[in-house]
Symmetry: C2
């Protein structure tokens, strides 16, 4: 049996490395329709775990799931001026249904502010109906010219939260709360140390008053916007007439928010942790936290090894650990090891005749190669040892990713410094926030403003600070980087 | 505060009763695009519980979730002759994307046999890759001329399972296993005593060799096909070239199946259990199993009642019971009782000052009106008492529905008997299975063949039995009824 063909090394071609890993780790594949993807079981299970982690957090903060239609009348999209301008070039349009040409073309939702705004205007009558806290899990379509699996696909899966509030303060607080929830999920489940920040006017959502995002650093130092939370002001409330009677019996426009995380996050996990052997998955979201590889030669060994393997498997499974037993015949242990390393399973347990004799198993960490990652674990208390090992791996992966990122975050004083940095890290630079400066930076360096990090900007428009590009008063310090 | 306006009585207009309940119980509403619906949080939570019940069962039988694209090239749909004939009139077609007219129009998936068949032909190489057991949770679109919320909507949510097997026997076994799982879910979670059976050639899925279904009786005796499981033979394997190398190293076509349950099931729950007061939800799938209504007049009472209510709520919540506390001010207890009856919550707990004093709560069953459904329950051990009560309600609802159904199932010897029965029950009648007889029955009575129940047909084509309509040899006994 041939050894696994490896992936293209990151150092050789990062982009090809990414595609190789996504395909060879069986996460996803291209669909027959260009720009669309097929999410294979292993990739979908990874998404399901991210989904569960988010859904729990949404419900714990009082949000309820609902479902709104896939099709939106074209006229709805046109009601909010910035919104239609932003989305028009990306729309998929249904013109025929049930064998007839439609009177009004239907848009396949690129996002649902409009149709949900329409529903909210119906659901909300009085201040007693507020806040209204809704989320939906759905597919959306944005026509993509340069598709990349998970990162940019014409159809993708996501959740979109939509909320309405009586006051601006509450809506802003909700926007920031959801940003915090996204960061918490990214950091503590995906082991990705994201940075929370405000998007520039150029980079904000079409129709938002303010957009916030979590930005993650990938293995090539590029940034990935991994989740966004938008304060929509009264823009959609006015476009869709979302009004409520306040306590003084007067009509008021509501304040709304929207926020989303998509299957793009899966691509983020690949690029934040992967190496030249393939995926490395954080235990909290790994479809299989542990893979057990029985090793045998003789039929007698096979029997005793399998009996012991089943024992171990049951013990771990009852403790709630997600395991997989690789019983495939005709494949060498080496082939299997490579295979599961490619798939990024955090812990591998090897069980051979000697382990059966010793009443123990040999464990190997995906994140620590070679002997250093190996240890013999006794059967007794194995589930506790594994649970602890998984938590160690989880925090160690976050630590590694944080160290990698922190070494590549730089405060830059001048535009020249930024130019020298792009491609090797992110530059935190005073920035006026104007589209003109952003365009210039992008043209010169291909970098874009990622966000004005909240932690680094105690105040906006600080007196005396100047944009490193145009010299006009700075709005704040923004990170600039190449980005997906 | 005005009392709740009730729903149209079932006896007056069953169809309006249904729509009233769906809307007044806050399950769903019409979307701006005709034929589509908005599933409101309460309706979506009901669907989520059905979903979880199914997903558990799929995973326990070795199926894995994946996700396939929304858009299917028109040419794919055309590859299986019966399939395109069946679905062509219902397709929604995307002709424009990204601001341009597309070279090949894209179909919004009405079901995914074609695109999944295409993927399977790629995933399957050898007998070692079989069986391949895949499920997807997705939205699908079938243009609907006479839409009804949940029952028939242009877009609906569902799961569609797709599997491939090495042998015909295995594929048939899978088809029947999934039918059993659907029946188990319907009976034990939704408290709907469905009948499992084979669909007639006229009623089978476009492209299937054999279709099976679970058929449920609604409150007006009409049937609702609530889930289908299809043995696809090698039809799609041949259309999409799903081949594998067998152990003798020869190319073979795989045998495939597909099976689905949709949001239609929610409509089934409404009509199988609802009454003139509104919904009645089986505890296993009810979004709220228990609603707690604190009752108070004075501010002192309010304080002590709320303190006690929180105690009760915490106790039940920690026991894993899904509860909701109705703390709304300014609404009378009577209004709230009606409101929660409309929403079909299985158990209502009333907590007033006297209950606080007595260290107990007053419970009322939704399924047993008036005094008979009420009892005083002490705080100590309340979670156990409630858990038991919920199980009682669950089995009692199944019993009621089974009795209702069994009284309306009739063996009919002659076509005249069937004619007299239609509208008041289902007739089990010898049937040849020909489209001609079915068309005649439909024209005469508006009834359609629901299924050849497996339990009532120990053998097909039994010697000597004749179709009650045409007199030719019967294929078996089929239920005929009006249906949704």
């Amino acid at each position: 049996m041939a050894e696994n063909k490896g992936v293209t090394p990151q150092s050789e071609d990062y982009s090809r490395w990414y595609t190789d890993v996504v395909k060879m780790a069986d996460l996803a594949d291209n669909a027959p329709v260009r720009g669309c993807m097929i999410i294979k079981p292993y990739g979908y299970e990874l998404w399901e775990n991210i989904k569960t982690a988010l859904d729990m957090r949404f419900k714990a903060t009082g949000h309820r799931n609902a479902y709104f239609p896939l099709f939106i009348p074209m006229s709805f999209i046109e009601k909010e001026a910035e919104h239609v301008e932003g989305f028009a070039p990306e729309l998929a349009v249904v013109t025929h249904g049930g064998g007839k040409e439609l009177e009004e073309p239907l848009v396949v939702r690129p996002t649902s502010e409009t149709v949900i705004g329409h529903a909210f205007s119906d659901w909300i009558q009085s201040y007693r109906d507020l806040p209204l806290l809704i989320n939906q899990w759905a597919n959306v379509v944005r026509w993509e010219k340069r598709p990349r699996l998970f990162l940019r696909t014409t159809e993708f899966l996501w959740q979109e939260g939509h909320t309405a509030h009586a006051t601006e303060e509450e809506a802003v607080a909700e926007t920031l709360q959801m940003l915090d929830i996204y960061a918490d999920m990214a950091i503590n489940e995906c082991a990705i140390p994201v940075i929370k920040g405000l998007k520039s006017p150029q980079e904000k959502f079409a129709g938002a008053a303010d957009s916030y995002a979590i930005e993650a650093m990938m293995g090539n130092t590029w940034a990935l916007q991994s989740g966004t939370s938008h304060f929509l002001g009264q823009n959609f409330a006015k476009a869709f007439n979302i009004q409520y009677l306040d306590e003084a019996n007067e009509q008021q426009y509501a304040w709304t928010t929207s926020w989303g995380v998509s299957t793009r996050m899966v691509g983020g996990v690949v690029m934040a942790h992967g190496d030249d052997k393939g995926l490395r998955l954080p235990p909290h979201i790994a479809p299989y936290q542990v893979v057990i590889t029985p090793i045998w030669k003789t039929p007698e060994d096979e029997e005793s090894v399998f009996r012991f393997t089943n024992l171990v498997a049951d013990q771990l499974r009852s403790a709630g650990i997600r395991i997989h037993v690789d019983k495939r015949a005709g494949l060498s242990p080496g082939f299997k090891f490579n295979d599961w390393e490619m798939r990024g399973v955090p812990v591998r347990l090897e069980i051979g005749p000697r382990d059966v004799e010793g009443n123990s198993v040999m464990s190997a960490r995906r994140d620590v190669p070679g002997r250093d990652g190996k240890q013999i674990l006794p059967l007794e208390g194995l589930e506790m040892a594994i649970a602890e090992l998984l938590e160690n791996i989880q925090s160690s992966m976050l630590e590694t990713a944080t160290k990698f990122r922190d070494e590549r975050l730089h405060e830059v004083e001048t535009y020249e410094e930024l130019k020298a940095l792009v491609g090797q890290g992110w530059g935190l630079m005073w920035h006026c926030g104007s589209p003109e400066c952003e365009d210039k930076i992008k043209e010169d360096t291909k970098a874009t403003s990622r966000c004005f990090p909240l932690d680094e900007n105690p105040e906006w428009n600080p007196v005396g600070e100047k944009c490193a590009v145009c010299g006009k008063p700075a709005f704040g310090r923004a990170y600039f980087s190449r980005a997906y």
